[in-house]
């Protein structure tokens, strides 16, 4: 039996320990804000926080997250009003929106660790999360607005 906390709630899993966290979130818990994009940790659509750090939930197995604390987009802020979510809306970042939970979770982890990142630090953090619609310029503006304290 694997036990862990997801968005502050205790959860148990007794299935295949090789199952990536992504599918537990989506199929078992109906936390569908976390998206499947590649299954290989290449695109970042599935990004969640594991003990406060951004990880790709499509390649982290359930065995590996036993006893951990996981935060998904649904748990980032109780009211859905994390400064980045507000900034994302203000800059109207999303086009199709599919990757944006991953983008926001990646950016939230970056700012939690480094509240005033320079351009290079933002690139290093965000390069792993692909947006095919091409919203990068607005992602940049949104992150910088929060890092600069405007939100």
């Amino acid at each position: 039996m694997i036990e862990l906390k997801i968005n502050g709630e205790s959860r148990q899993f007794d299935g295949d320990g090789d199952m990536p966290l992504l599918w537990f979130l989506r199929d078992e818990l109906a936390l569908t804000g976390t998206k499947y994009g590649c299954g290989k940790g290449l695109c970042g659509s599935c990004t969640v926080h594991l003990n406060g750090q951004a990880v790709r939930s499509c390649v982290i197995t359930m065995s590996a997250v036993s006893g951990s604390e996981v935060t998904t987009i649904e748990g980032l802020d109780a009211e859905g009003r994390h400064p980045l979510q507000i900034a994302w809306a203000k800059h109207d970042v999303p086009q199709c929106g599919y990757c944006q939970a991953g983008q926001i979770m990646q950016a939230a982890s970056l700012l939690a660790n480094n509240p005033k990142p320079d351009g290079e630090s933002i690139s290093d953090a965000m390069r792993g999360v692909i947006c095919r619609c091409g919203t990068y310029q607005r992602i940049e503006s949104a992150i910088k607005s929060v890092a600069g304290g405007e939100a």
Partner: protein
Amino acid sequence: MSRHVQNLAPPFARKALAAEVSRGVDQAVVRNVSRRDFLKAGGVLVVGVSLYASGAAGTVAKAATSGDSGQGDPWTPDVYVTVEADGTVRIISHRCEMGQGIKTSLPAVVADEMEADWSRVVVEQATGDKKYGDQSTGGSLSVITFYQRMREAGASVRAMFEQAGAQYWQVDVADCRAENHRVVHGPSGKSADFAELVQIASALTVPATDQLKLKTPEQYRYIGKELHSVDLEDIVQGKAVYGADVRLPGMKYAAIARPPVVLGKVKSFNADKAKAVAGVERVVELPAAQAPVAYKSLGGVAVIANNSWAALKARDLLEIEWDDGPNADYNSKAFKEELLKAVRQPGEAVRNEGDFDAAAAAADQVLEAEYYAPHLNHMMMEPPAATASVTAEGCEIWAPTQDPQSLIPMAAEVTGLPPEKIRVNMTLCGGAFGRKGKGDYVDEAVRLSKEVGAPVRVQWSREDEVRHGYYHTVSAQHLAAALDDKGQVTGWRHRLAYPTIFSIFNPEATSPQTLELGLGALTLPYAIDSIRLEKGGVPAKVRIGWLRSVCAIFQSFGINVFTDEIARARGKDPLENLLELLGPDRTIDLTSFGMENKEGHPFETGRLRGVVELAAEKGGWGRELPAGHGLGIAAQYSFDSYAASVVEVAVSEDGSWSVPRVVMTVDCGQVVNLDRAVAQQEGAAIMGLGFVRHGRITAKDGRIEQGNFNNARVMRYGEHPKTEVHFVQNHLAPSGIGEPGVPPFAPALANAIFAATGKRFRELPIGSKV
């Protein structure tokens, strides 16, 4: 053209095929259906606009203009505008939302004309139903096709509220005007909310279309302004529902091993290892695909499980022996030579003005160059996924789909159910770019649900999509220009060859069709005396599908890079050369190329010149640049819009390059939603950049060689340029914005690289180093 092709013509083809395909939109019919269908609800105004010009349209139009009271043929209007008792306005969006913002933009047009307060408008997604008219969302056609109808729908409701106000106060309607969800009586200053007037309005007759007073541009409240997407809050909170987010009680999860070669078949398989995976319930063989492949399932072997992971894991454990079939001889390297061979010899002339051969014979110099562009995959972030629930009573589908109505006959054929028993729910598309107009993944879900007797969700992995997609075609072009002794361009010859999109509907189709050639090649706007376009024939060995901007991507690349080559040969500045080739402003008759002149959308070369000049101005053409930097320019008319790009490239000593700045200019007539229109151009720049840097799908022995984002690469954060977008300000009939920005980008970048390095690139992708 066969009926099969007519019915499944790609969206960008539909408009031009209007005469053949009975999906034309000729006439808007607006009427109040409150009394007949909604009277019992009390105080609710429901107005429908018919967007579907079927044989019954005449009847409907007559009924509407004569103040029909609900007798006669049953009639279901296509777009409902509902005003509820509390004044809430509900507008149905019948097109597919895939990131382009149409679910916001078209309802905003209705809201603007009806003077609704946008904060009191709720937009609802339609199901797939022929009563909505054409729902096949592609070809940048939504606004072109529906803008006027939406305005008329909104203006009808506004007129009804003004009339209701006049009745309420017993005053002259000429003194009443709707204003932001209220009706104001000018002389007295009295006003009433729509909520107060809805009961009266619901009993009124809808005014005839020719009685409507549409707003003038200075009165627009939302049109041309910046409106955020209606799904924005749901998206940033992770609540928006995409294809794979649908969950039904008792639902099974499926993953499928498809034939690695198109039209391949299962010879034999062993599912023992797959069945041993915990959670796996069944293994089902799907029937092999047969030509024409159209949007049908590719066949293969499906694993049905109680979760996605078990299905995907077990699918990879299937041991299958394949019969690869007739396409196993497809090798991209050899096919490139076949394409080049085709364009090195005369083809079938499809445009021929003057005498190119005579011009070449008399020329001082004949320039020649060959261009090549590979297959591309859509690479939308959401791989195909669809859920279907088939019972004896009906079939319900939930899918991210650009063409919901195409799924109905497909599901009817699989299930044996009548079309009216099939319901198609449209989720948001997590990117589409043309891919989700082809519902092979829905066909799979319907087949599997029927087979297992439970709701089934089919999930494609990324590798599934990269290896079993519908690919942007692969092309070769040979261009030649005759220059006389004064350096004037006297002749232009363009030979091209590529597998046609129409091959998925008709295996006999082996050469480009007018609809494909019309995306840049037929429409060459240059004032040159002798112009000849020739096409060659090649077969299709994979499924060819339209991808954002379609053939304009490579046709624009060949034409605009060759134009830059001509400038260099003439010793002219590329901007000056381009403007000179465009010649005097004139209207080009598209019917002379076998195309259609769309009403309200004549092809004006002056508008193309306009975007070129605007791009040059905003991009600082001719300015001093740092060492290693270069500027390139290109322009393209496509999807009834005019677009130009000025791209600045920075090349390092080691040959690595980046794009620090891009200026995108567009003339699409009246901009409908400025924020989303800008976003589309920002995205177009990123997509165009990705085509130049990475975009390439190749086949070996009929199998696609790439599989995931590691080798089918797309642009990442940090590689993005500073993109500036400028629209030509006018109030002409609005045209497409989703696709026109893409085509000029790649050639402008290639031209910039030449300006920076003197190296000419004629093949895509160029790669990360030059």
